[in-house]
């Protein structure tokens, strides 16, 4: 059971910093890509 204990111990310290880093890049990608199509919409003129 010692091995089980050890990983539970690890659980307390494990905070997914790498995940946050990857998802920050994902959010930037969302903003850039979504934003570029939104700007294309604005550049192509109103429809009313």
């Amino acid at each position: 059971m010692a091995e089980e204990q050890q990983t539970d111990q690890q659980v307390e310290e494990f905070h997914p910093k790498g995940t946050v880093a990857i998802l920050v890049m994902f959010v930037l990608a969302i903003i850039i890509l979504w934003g570029s199509v939104y700007l294309i919409l604005l550049s192509r003129g109103v429809t009313v």
């Binding site: 790498g18 890509l33 979504w34 294309i40 429809t47």
Partner: protein, 564 residues
């Protein structure tokens, strides 16, 4: 044959899946892979046509047109490969999750054979060029009645298999009143439950309009209402495709990568949110339809933003699970740990690459759903560019990754040339990057979808570079598809067997918290089902009543001369 030992962590049961259940699951995978191999033949034909190489004349008289090929590609890949693989995969997750046989095995077999009969019934008119109406079959384009009847049987068959899972769950629940539903079984049940709601739209469309119309019992259809019925099902259909991949990403991949599921409660919450939010947002496929008020389109756009949230949750939870696994394997650094993941394992690599491309698929989806932003991309090649990242990569490449342990498990034989499985995954990834990017860019330049652009007179010089990349990407994807079918076939038909005791193990990830500590409201069905019904009534009720009340079957009669 289940021997049960009660240990502290809920019931730990050793269970031996019966030979006939393994064969039954294998039958699903077999039909799925056959459908994929035929359907994937036509992908390159379309992609090459974009690049000016039209191979269709050489296929006469067997295959008449680009659009017949497009219908085969769409129906076999997006409907048949997916539905059969999913029901087969969920048969496994139900049996292995509950560690018990199906409650009514014959019921599931009836469901399977209903789907097979439906498949054949729909395939005949498609192959005879009597149903070149694409996989959305918008009236007044009219296909042969057998096409609609066949699709109906495939859907009804999938319902029956779903009920087979529900009955198995009820039997398990009677024996385990207080145990949390094992996650991989829960994921399957949740998907099939959402599917029951989802398919109501297509069932009503076919039974009240398309089938009687194609049999000549009614004069025509109301095309706008038919679109509303279709897209009532059309959007949750993409979650029917996606959630099985999520079951593997949440419930199996962490184990394959050497770690645990990061959060059992949030994984379950994501599935409940998909049941709740998959259906009441179909108008985001109809933003530019004339017959739906802009107000309702806006409401459905906002609801579509809400269903983007469980996918954001999934991104965090899955990547965190993988990060923990990588660090267990000695991965270091903020992002460097990614290298420590088992990239030599074809099943893992395929699902990791699927996840990477799915992030861009998700961004494209959010763009499509953004109300007026859809004006830029609607019905352009941006849309197939998008769904080749989602259903054709996030889902299909993940299913290929799952096959790399599932087929060895079913056949009891080692995976044929495991290194090739890794190469196949990377080939798909690279081919898709080229193909999908070119399609997205062409879409922004205004190229229409569902159109043999090789012959379109309005194609400006500006598109030609991207049209070539479409052909190049298509060629690479074709090589990858052939590799996949080859690896799976060789695995199944080789004589070599795995030694006894060294059989393939079904990867089931433990979660970092004991599932018994997950709140009870994340394991009770009634409140979520009631919420789903109410939300569908609110989001669809008024417009359905209005469009039905103003139905005009005269406006959608079949053209006197068949347009294809």
């Amino acid at each position: 044959m289940a021997t049960r030992e009660d240990s502290g962590k809920g019931t730990l049961t050793t269970y031996e899946v019966t030979k006939s259940d393994k064969r039954f699951i294998g039958a699903h995978i077999l039909v799925a892979v056959i459908a994929l191999s035929i359907g994937s033949l036509f992908g390159p034909l379309q992609a090459f046509q974009f690049s000016g190489v039209d191979l269709y004349p050489y296929l006469q008289p067997v295959f008449k047109s680009y659009y017949q090929g497009l219908t085969i590609h769409g129906v076999l890949n997006a409907l048949v490969w997916t539905t059969f693989f999913i029901t087969g995969f969920f048969t496994l997750t139900t049996i292995w999750g509950f560690k018990r046989g199906l409650r009514y095995p014959t019921l599931n077999r009836v469901g399977f054979w209903t789907m097979v009969v439906g498949l054949v019934m729909a395939a005949v008119p498609i192959l005879l060029d009597e149903a070149s109406v694409l996989y959305t079959f918008y009236p007044p384009l009219q296909a042969n009645w057998a096409f609609y009847a066949g699709l109906t049987l495939v859907v009804v068959g999938s319902w029956i298999e779903g009920y087979g899972f529900f009955f198995t769950y009820r039997a398990w629940r009677k024996d385990n009143p207080d145990t949390r539903t094992p996650f991989i079984a829960f994921g399957g049940l949740a998907t099939m439950a959402m599917w029951q709601f989802a398919t109501l739209g297509i069932a009503v469309e076919i039974l009240t309009m398309l089938l009687p119309w194609s049999l000549g019992l009614i004069e025509g259809t109301d095309p706008q209402l038919a679109r509303t019925y279709f897209w009532f099902t059309g959007h949750p259909l993409v979650y029917f495709w996606l959630l099985p991949a999520y079951v593997s990403w949440y419930g199996m991949l962490p184990k394959q990568a050497g770690g645990k599921l990061f959060s059992d409660s949030l994984a379950r919450l994501a599935f409940w949110l998909f049941i709740l939010l998959s259906v009441p947002l179909g108008f985001h496929h109809q933003f530019v339809d004339p017959g739906v008020p802009a107000g309702w389109k806006y409401i459905h756009a906002v609801l579509t933003y809400s269903v983007f949230f469980p996918s954001m949750l999934t991104a965090f939870t899955v990547i965190a699970s993988l990060e923990r696994a990588a660090r267990n394997r000695g991965g270091k650094g903020l992002i460097g740990w990614v290298r420590a993941l088992p990239w030599n394992n074809g099943s893992v690599t395929a699902q990791l690459l699927a996840g990477i491309l799915f992030m861009f698929g998700g961004i494209g989806g959010l763009t499509n759903a953004s109300y007026n932003v859809n004006l830029v991309v609607h019905n352009t090649t941006w849309v197939p560019g998008h769904f080749h990242l989602t259903v054709a990569t996030a889902v299909t490449l993940s299913f290929m990754g799952i096959s790399y342990w599932l087929v060895p498990w079913i056949t009891g034989k080692p995976l044929w040339k495991p290194r090739w499985a890794v190469i196949q995954a990377w080939t798909w990834f690279i081919g898709m990057l080229i193909f999908s990017n070119a399609m997205h860019v062409l879409g922004l330049l205004g190229a229409p979808r569902r159109t043999p652009l090789g012959v379109a007179p309005y194609v400006p010089e500006e598109w030609s570079g991207h049209l070539l990349r479409v052909g190049l990407g298509g060629a690479i994807l074709f090589v990858s598809a052939v590799m996949f079918v080859w690896i799976v076939a060789k695995t199944a038909w080789q004589r070599e067997r795995l030694p006894v005791g060294a059989e393939v193990e079904i990867p089931v990830a433990e979660s970092m918290q004991d599932p018994q500590l997950t709140p009870r409201w994340l394991d009770r069905w009634v409140p979520w089902i009631v919420g789903t019904i109410l939300l569908i009534l609110v989001a669809y009720g008024p417009q359905l009543v209005d469009q039905i009340a103003n139905i005009d079957l005269g406006s959608g009669q079949a053209p006197t001369i068949r347009p294809w």
